[in-house]
Symmetry: C2
Subunit: 198 residues, 2 copies
DNA sequence: GACTATAGCGGACTACGGTCCGCTTGTGTC
DNA sequence: GACACAAGCGGACCGTAGTCCGCTATAGTC
């Protein structure tokens, strides 16, 4: 429970309250489930005022995302500096497949948080900085793999589409697909796209 | 402004109020823009109580969707009974392309409503009956075109993904793509998927 | 240790979506 | 036309996300 100081200097009470809030939120999620607690509940559980909550986390969406910020940042880190095939060193096509596997594994664990955060979020998934990050990554790999065609940019979004929280949750929970089936499906899609410009 | 009686018998005052509400909503949307009015505003503008609003439309999402229910139903109708290539009579692959064009044209006109409805909706896009309808349609065409493989079902979702309100709005408004560029991109994706199993 | 500027705090307040329930009005029956 | 009854109505009410601003605690300075 730390979720990045981010600032150059953090006052002691601020730090204490940030941790309190994150712990309280995690406790509430475990006790009553995600989506079954209000921001007032969090404030009460943490023993802070609502103003403090919003000063630190902006909105409910950010608070929920903060709960999974560590694994999310770790995944992003491993894309840039991790070991091949997720990180640099492998062939672009191979890295692309590894990226899909990695993101699907991440979703399989954290999708409830992602969905909840999205429900309360002011910006949709596509406008979120994290999407821009993934987009850049996939665009680079795709261009390396199949070169630069008019529709390459579009195909990036097409590949990222099924890796969003809603489609994933739909496939897994509503359609009852296993993680392996979803993975296999995405690899088929990925191969189709990779083959399209060759 | 009618949006389907749906029931076997509708009382006169109920009908009158339904029309009032729909007209008032349309007027508000035009005056202040979508998302800039509350349900209280609608009730006041229509001259009815809030209870009436919710009795007829369930929630804000449904109210907004009701505004575009006529063109939406017309589009669905043309998929089933319309002229080829959108309706029956053309080759599956051709119908698939026509479906994408048609849905993108629909989105281009109504995406603001779709997004707003989704923001307030209790169920996400994938759980909405309309998605199930499109899904069945595309699944049928895809199976006719490339046969039944393990991942065919997944590819249906992959094809429908970029035809959602959020990705469309992102591509058009945030990325500045023209409708033609988006169309071309989807056709590329569609062709890639169609070629994948041949 | 006293002083000060300010980052941080807290909770009353607002706006909004949605519910509830007693009252009204339309409709079908005689 | 009178009656009964149910479909429909309306607005007070509730819970929740998010704001605002006067007050407090902290961290540097001397």
């Amino acid at each position: 429970m730390s979720a990045a100081p981010t600032q150059e200097r953090e006052r002691a009470d601020a730090r204490r309250n940030r941790e309190r809030i994150l712990c309280a939120t995690a406790r509430l999620v475990e006790r009553v489930g995600i989506d079954c607690f209000s921001m007032d509940d969090v404030a009460a559980e943490a023993g802070v005022g609502k103003g403090t909550l919003y000063r630190r986390f902006g909105d409910k969406s950010s608070l929920i995302r903060a709960l999974i910020s560590e694994p999310e940042q770790a995944f992003q880190e491993s894309l840039i500096r991790g070991e091949a095939p997720l990180g640099p060193g492998a062939a672009p096509a191979e890295r692309l497949h590894a990226f899909g596997d990695g993101l699907l594994a991440f979703l399989d664990r954290h999708v409830i948080y992602m969905q909840s955060a999205e429900r309360f979020g002011a910006v949709d998934r596509y406008r979120h900085p994290v999407y821009a990050f993934y987009r850049t990554h996939v665009a680079l790999l795709l261009r390396q793999a199949i070169g630069d065609a008019a529709s390459t940019d579009y195909l990036v979004d097409a590949l990222l589409g099924p890796l969003g929280p809603e489609p994933f949750a739909y496939q897994r929970d509503a359609r009852g697909m296993s993680l392996d089936e979803i993975r296999a499906g995405w690899h088929t899609l990925c191969d189709a796209v990779l083959a399209s410009s060759r």
